[in-house]
């Protein structure tokens, strides 16, 4: 198939506005009369609030409002409302260091900060718990008024693992730990909220899911959904951090209502590190059993997820982990148990990979330990257990397109597996597989998207899609789909996506779903627009509709010199025929028969994306430092819509994965995050990146737009285990706790020598 726009490495359509500084982010907006809000946060990880005195703050000149729990609705809220456990401001108790207690609105940031310093709160400290396994034990401090700290529990069983383990020739059992890591979007979380006199709330914020956040705002404030409008701007990163509201939105709303003025609240970078939601930390127990020939026969996993002080996306994260655990290899006997446990720490939320990087680290490093036991090459062991296209797995996953084997072979070839695996000094190579959704999920009981197109009277195309572009480039993907279908140039398409009053309802940009879901809806809208264009064009050209060609922004009949531009066509449609041209598009992902969310398990995933990464590392035995020399990332894209952007997604993911593997982790001391800036919380810089080779494997998904599936998240999933396996290959130690710091390497090397 030859396409004109699909599959090309085209610059993002918003590149010019971003490279000139014209792009407006929410932090760049100002409204007339705008006040500056700030949040008074708990200085203790767990305490009763005895009294709050705000009188001095209220008296300060320039302060327009000070609010505490008595000023806000106290209905409890959570993303899953059946697990509601958090109020807008704490009334009786604080549950993590940073919990919201009071807030101010003032004429400028300085005055707001000064007002915060004048608020006096008396606390009665309570014993706190910071480790999820400790928090599960009897006698642990209870964080909510519940019998235990386990906030959510899930179990899954396929086959008979107990019996199957007895039939195995090789068994490995290990414990893995991954910590809380920060999204580190360069634009901090922020908003401006205006509660107008008609009772309507307009919120300008950086969000990945404006429509569901709109519902959340209405729910937490106890106001009708129709009273809420959310407007997005250019976004400075998302990575999952901006799916569910955080309390600054309703706090700003109440402050605006009280003052009658728009109120901005913006995290400081330190707040972003120490109070914003994180990736869930996991403690993972895995047991894997294989037969003599390397066939994976049984596997069980116990996850203890660190929920932090309140619920957010944790239950969904634990469930998603279970689905990926079940699907990575087609193992007949599996058991999964997940416990989500409250601790006195900042909350977890979605983060690129959504519970998958944690379990992939455990599962894929254990495969290498297992391979070592069996004497097999870990690549060979993986190849023997590879999934294939058109396969129904034991846990019910319907795998349509699958390039797992191709990804493994491509990655191994590019890293020089055969030769480098033998090792050279302190160098080694390792690889790891991954599976992820390539199309979001059916977790709401459905999975659908809409889109609208209009041909403007000037011949340009306006596309209205709810797909949020947080930097990953979805606007460009959507525009390419329209350009391909309508035969217009990319620059003739305007993408509008930023206003809940305008865009159709949508679940948001998460789960690598926009290319597949919104892309399909946009393609449908383009096809319907094309039908109208052809009707008009056949009238103008006096030709058979079947003979009309759309190309280069023009319509014509093959072999004829008669042609009209889109602007002539639009003018004719509007002014001669009196009927403008437009198209509506919809994509409804068909649910499998007998599907339910609860029992659906891996059937919740419309299509899977497989991938393999191989890493080469060098260890410094003196310092314990790991230098990543090269990463090969072979990922399937279905069909690549934009090579430049697909590579960009994978490269960015790999580097986040290197951070996850070797550098990143929030460090707490008595509940306080001590690395709350980029100096102490290290993310990869220019100096930390290895050579990265990206290989795009095309598998042509039967249901994706032009055969495409999502590639936003997969690249982060296998990086950490690939690096850990390379370290194992280099020096024979397997580090089972992230991040793999020089201290851990030195300790393990010392133990190895000593033992």
């Amino acid at each position: 198939m030859t396409w004109k726009v699909i599959g090309k490495g085209l610059p993002k359509i918003d590149s010019i506005s971003k490279v000139t500084g014209e792009a407006q982010y929410t932090v760049d907006l100002k409204l007339p009369g705008m006040l500056y809000g700030n949040i008074f946060r708990s200085p203790l990880p767990h305490a009763k609030i005895k009294s709050i005195n705000t009188s001095k703050a209220e008296e300060l000149q320039g302060v327009h409002a000070v609010i505490t729990a008595k000023d806000v609705p106290l209905n409890k809220f959570s993303f899953f409302q059946w697990l509601a456990d958090k109020t807008i401001l704490c009334s009786d108790k604080v549950r993590y260091l940073g919990d919201e207690v009071a807030a101010v609105a003032a004429v400028d940031e300085e005055t707001a900060l000064e007002a915060l310093s004048l608020i006096k709160v008396e606390y009665e400290p309570l014993p706190a718990v910071f480790d999820a396994e400790e928090a599960m034990k009897p006698g642990a401090p209870l964080i909510h008024d519940k019998e235990k700290n386990i906030g959510f529990h899930v179990e899954r069983l396929f086959g008979d693992p107990d019996k199957a383990f007895e039939e195995c020739d090789y068994i490995c059992e290990d414990r893995y730990v991954t910590g809380q890591v920060s999204h580190c979007c360069l634009e901090v979380s922020n908003c401006i909220v205006k509660w107008d006199s008609s009772g309507r709330l307009t919120i300008w914020t950086n969000t990945q899911a404006p429509h569901t956040q709109r519902q959340e705002i209405a729910r937490i404030l106890g106001i009708p959904i129709r009273n809420v409008r959310i407007i997005n701007s250019t976004m400075g990163g998302g990575f999952g951090s901006k799916l569910v509201i955080d309390m600054k939105l309703p706090i700003a709303a109440i402050l605006s209502k009280k003052t009658g003025r728009p109120v901005r609240i913006e995290n400081s970078r330190a707040e972003e590190f120490s109070t914003a939601k994180t990736r869930y930390g996991y403690t993972i127990y895995v047991k894997t059993g294989a037969k003599k020939d390397g066939r994976l026969w049984a596997r069980e996993m116990k996850v203890i997820g660190d929920n932090g002080a309140y619920h957010d996306k944790g239950p969904a994260t634990l469930n998603f982990s279970s689905m990926m655990f079940g699907t990575l290899y087609n193992i007949p006997n599996i058991r999964y148990e997940g416990n989500l446990v409250y601790t006195n720490k900042q909350m977890g939320t979605a983060f690129r990979g959504f519970g998958n990087p944690q379990i992939a680290f455990a599962c894929e490093t254990q495969i290498d330990v297992l391979a070592n036991k069996t004497g097999m090459d870990p690549l060979e062991l993986r190849l023997r257990n590879a999934n294939q296209s058109d396969q129904m797995t034991f846990c019910g996953a319907e795998i349509t397109s699958c390039g797992m084997k191709e990804c493994m072979e491509a990655a191994a070839r590019a890293i020089g597996w055969e030769e480098k695996r033998r090792g050279k000094g302190l160098r080694g190579v390792g690889l790891a597989n991954m599976v992820h959704t390539g199309a979001g999920g059916r977790f709401y009981g459905y999975n659908a998207a809409d889109a609208f197109i209009k041909l403007s009277d000037d011949g340009t195309v306006a596309l209205i899609t709810p797909a949020q572009d947080m930097g990953q480039g979805s606007h460009t993907v959507m525009a390419q789909i329209v350009a391909e279908e309508l035969g217009v140039n990319l620059e003739d398409i305007n993408v509008i996506s930023n206003d809940t009053d305008l865009t159709p309802y949508d679940l948001g940009s998460w789960g690598s779903r926009t290319t597949f879901m919104n892309g399909n809806a946009v393609l449908d809208a383009a096809r319907n627009t094309k039908k109208e264009i052809i009707t008009v064009a056949s009238e103008m050209l006096e030709a058979n509709p079947d003979d009309i060609i759309l190309e280069g922004g023009r319509v014509f009949v093959k072999g004829s010199s008669d042609q009209y531009s889109f602007s002539e066509l639009a003018d004719y449609a509007i002014n001669k025929r009196g009927v403008p041209i437009s198209g509506k598009g919809r994509f409804v992902d068909k649910l499998p028969s007998g599907y339910t969310i609860k029992e659906g398990f891996a059937k919740n995933i419309p299509t899977f994306a497989f991938g393999t990464q191989a890493a080469e590392v060098e260890i410094d035995e003196e310092t314990g430092e790991v230098k990543v020399l090269k990463v090969v990332a072979a990922h399937e894209t279905g069909t690549t819509i934009n090579t430049l952007m697909a590579e960009g997604q994978i490269e960015g993911s790999v580097v986040q994965g290197i951070g996850y593997a070797l550098m990143e982790g929030l460090t707490l001391k008595n509940g306080k995050v001590i690395n709350d800036g980029f100096i102490d919380y290290k993310i990869p810089t220019f100096g930390d990146i290895p050579e990265i080779e990206t290989i795009l494997i095309e598998t042509n998904d039967p249901h994706g737009p032009f055969g495409a599936k999502g590639i936003g998240e997969p690249g982060l999933v296998p990086t950490a285990p690939a690096i850990a396996n390379a370290i194992f290959n280099a020096v024979g130690i397997m580090i089972k706790e992230l991040p793999i710091t020089p201290e851990k390497i030195l300790k393990a090397l010392k133990e190895k020598k000593g033992g």
Binding site: I16, G238, Q472, M645, G677
Partner: protein
Amino acid sequence: MSGAGAEKSLTGEAFMHMIKLKVNGHVQELGVKSHQTLLEVLRGPLELTGVKEGCGLGECGACTVLMDGKPVNSCLVLALEADGSEILTIEGLAQVGKLHYVQKAFVKEGAIQCGFCTPGMVMATVGLLQENPNSSQEEIKEGLRGNLCRCTGYVKIIKAVEAAVEMMREGEQT
């Protein structure tokens, strides 16, 4: 910033210090507080919001501008220290709608995702290439080390800077 008025102060409160800056070719005279940073003045009264704040502590490079031709973290420079200096921000880089070759290279090579680090990254690159027009890959990595990007993994930024070096060699003018 033409028309912003070189003569009159944009804020006129007490205990303000008057400073004079030449920003993107235009002279600006304005009152600043002694603790105000150059970044605050650029984003605040001068409304140059292309200059980004990522951390406010000199840790991320998003606020990089050229001060008398040298890249600085504008969040670490007091507005008073900048008195009398010439400032170039991302807004002043493209000339009458024509992109600077560094900007062109960033667009072409796909070095931009969310774009929040981009203005600082571009200005740091312009500074780097003024200092060392033939920067090697290692020199690029070293020179831009103070600029963080969370989206791209830096790969395409390095390619863009290398492309800019090449464009400059071939005589591309801004």
